[in-house]
């Protein structure tokens, strides 16, 4: 059902750049609203989380019969998640703290929201390093598979980081929380029922 050709795949993979393109276009045309810095931080954070969830979803789907062909998608989504998480972190580091490491550490240690975000990013960064071909080959497949699951706690920290951001209206972050819970529950059930996931 998924006829994949390399061209189609690469074209689809390039879609991950759309949110960044929107931010660049918006910044150049003053279309990012009254608080463009906040918009950059929120859009990059949102898309980091979106791509993490897309990666987990596609990884789950490709374990179903006849779905192996979308395996490449979860890799693209995984790299895109790390890409946007990095932009999110850089925007925070530069625009919120002017790159002061002391200030950032202080922020992370005093505010659980920032702490959760830091944990999420460290987890994603570790997963990204493992996914480099050199590293994953050196690790061996079994170890890679086990350790790469760090994306699950990282995703959870990302969702919590978002829940703790909002003042009162929890609708949007709770949608992410529900999506993550559904995926995690599905995978847990699959594992329990000893079917290959």
């Amino acid at each position: 059902m998924f006829k994949s050709s390399k061209t189609v795949n690469s074209a689809a993979a390039l879609l991950f750049i759309v949110p960044l393109a929107y931010l660049i276009w918006g910044a150049m045309n003053s279309q990012l609203g009254a608080n463009p810095v906040e918009k950059v931080i929120h859009v990059t954070g949102n898309w980091a989380l979106n791509f993490v969830l897309i990666a987990i979803t596609t990884r789950t789907l490709c374990s179903l019969p006849h779905m192996r062909r979308i395996g490449w998608l979860h890799q693209v989504a995984g790299w895109a998640a790390f890409f946007y998480a990095t932009l999110h972190f850089l925007a925070y580091a530069v625009l919120e703290h002017a790159l002061s490491i002391g200030e950032m550490l202080d922020d992370a240690l005093r505010h659980r929201r920032i702490f959760a975000g830091a944990l999420a990013y460290i987890g994603l960064a570790a997963a990204a390093v493992m996914a480099l071909p050199v590293v994953s080959h050196a690790m061996g497949y079994a170890r890679f598979r086990a350790l790469h699951k760090v994306v699950y706690p990282a995703a959870l920290c990302g969702v919590v980081h978002y829940v703790w951001l909002v003042k009162k209206d929890l609708r949007a972050p709770l949608i992410y929380a529900a999506a993550f819970a559904a995926l995690a529950a599905y995978r847990a059930v699959m594992k329990f029922s000893r079917r290959p996931v």
């Binding site: 009254a34 608080n35 906040e38 625009l95 922020d107 703790w164 951001l165 009162k168």
Partner: protein
């Protein structure tokens, strides 16, 4: 804690200067005309931002000549949960709010309770332009030229009784006009409060306009509170009731998050929100953050109100 009683002696500095007093006649005539033209929108002459222009008796800059925020940003980035929790959607969603006729009821522990028609209320006091910094609890700030009158003037007119210690403000409750009220994001109607001595502080105003024109709906038309040394959520919008009470009112945000939002909500860079720092702020229109000032830079005018209080406890 300082006395909550309204002082009955008036400082020389509070006496209306003669030119302002004389201007008042001119102002009364102008506002009568404005009211008349507001009733017939086709005749009203819109200002540069599209609102009815307001005449002010004087202009005082309390923001040390810092640049005022672009009108588009001040009128396009609004926390007004009665319409939406998305700051960029409020302007559109609040377009249909009917601000005339509008009644503001002054009641409670006062000698002169009264239900004022908004235009009648506005005509009672000379309007002033006050340029203030505004600091949102979320960590951003603006500089806004408000048009309004000191709340103190209305309080004196209402003659608080000795038992009155606090002033409680209530926003319109009308889910038909305010779509945000159809969900219980906050406990509706929105309630805010001030200690009586905070309410009569000369910095505290009731605003009816900004940038020289009548307040746009999204900024709290037709009447909102402005307390520049406090976080923005204290600036209650679209007020329909002002009540003088003995007990400290429980505000909407205190109900929503008692550990995060206190009654005082004074801008304080040293007391963080539990989930984020309050040490810095992003001035809308600027790139990097700037330091947040104690009492938003108004310590000279208001610090005495809190002498001896533990500001970590009374946040």
């Amino acid at each position: 804690m300082p006395s909550n009683k309204v002082p009955d002696d008036i400082n020389a500095s509070e006496i209306t200067p003669k030119e302002v007093y004389l201007n008042r006649r001119e102002f009364m005539a102008a506002s009568a005309m404005a009211a008349a033209s507001a009733a017939i929108p086709s005749l009203s002459e819109a200002g540069p931002h599209g609102g009815t222009p307001l005449k002010t008796a004087k202009r005082v800059d309390y923001a040390a000549s810092e640049a005022t925020t672009n009108y588009e940003n001040a009128a396009g980035y609004n926390n007004f949960y009665e319409f939406s929790t998305n700051k960029e959607d409020v302007a559109v969603l609040s377009k249909g709010l009917r601000t005339r006729p509008w009644t503001v009821t002054i009641e409670g522990l006062i000698n002169k309770p009264k239900a004022y028609d908004i235009d009648e209320l506005i005509k009672l006091f000379p309007l002033e332009e006050r340029i203030y910094r505004l600091r949102c609890v979320e960590g951003w700030s603006m500089v806004i030229p408000w048009v309004g009158f000191p709340l103190e003037a209305l309080i004196r007119r209402s003659e608080p009784k000795t038992g009155a210690k606090f002033v409680e403000f209530t926003t319109l409750l009308d889910p038909a006009q305010m779509p945000g009220q159809r969900r219980e994001v906050l406990h509706w109607p929105y309630v805010e409060g001030l200690r009586l001595d905070e309410a009569i502080n000369p910095l505290t105003i009731l605003s009816v306009g900004m940038y020289g024109e009548v307040l746009p709906n999204q900024n709290g038309a037709p009447l909102r509170l402005v307390v520049p040394w406090k976080y923005g959520f204290k600036y209650i919008k679209s007020i329909v009731k002002i009540r003088f009470v003995e007990q400290m009112p429980v505000t909407s945000w205190m109900k929503a998050g008692p550990l995060e939002y206190g009654f005082y909500a004074n801008v304080n860079p040293e007391v963080d929100h539990p989930r984020w720092s309050q040490a810095k702020e992003r001035r809308i229109g600027e790139f990097l953050k700037r330091k947040t000032l104690m009492f938003n830079g108004y310590a000279e005018q208001v610090a005495a109100l809190y002498a001896g209080m533990d500001l970590r406890r009374f946040f």
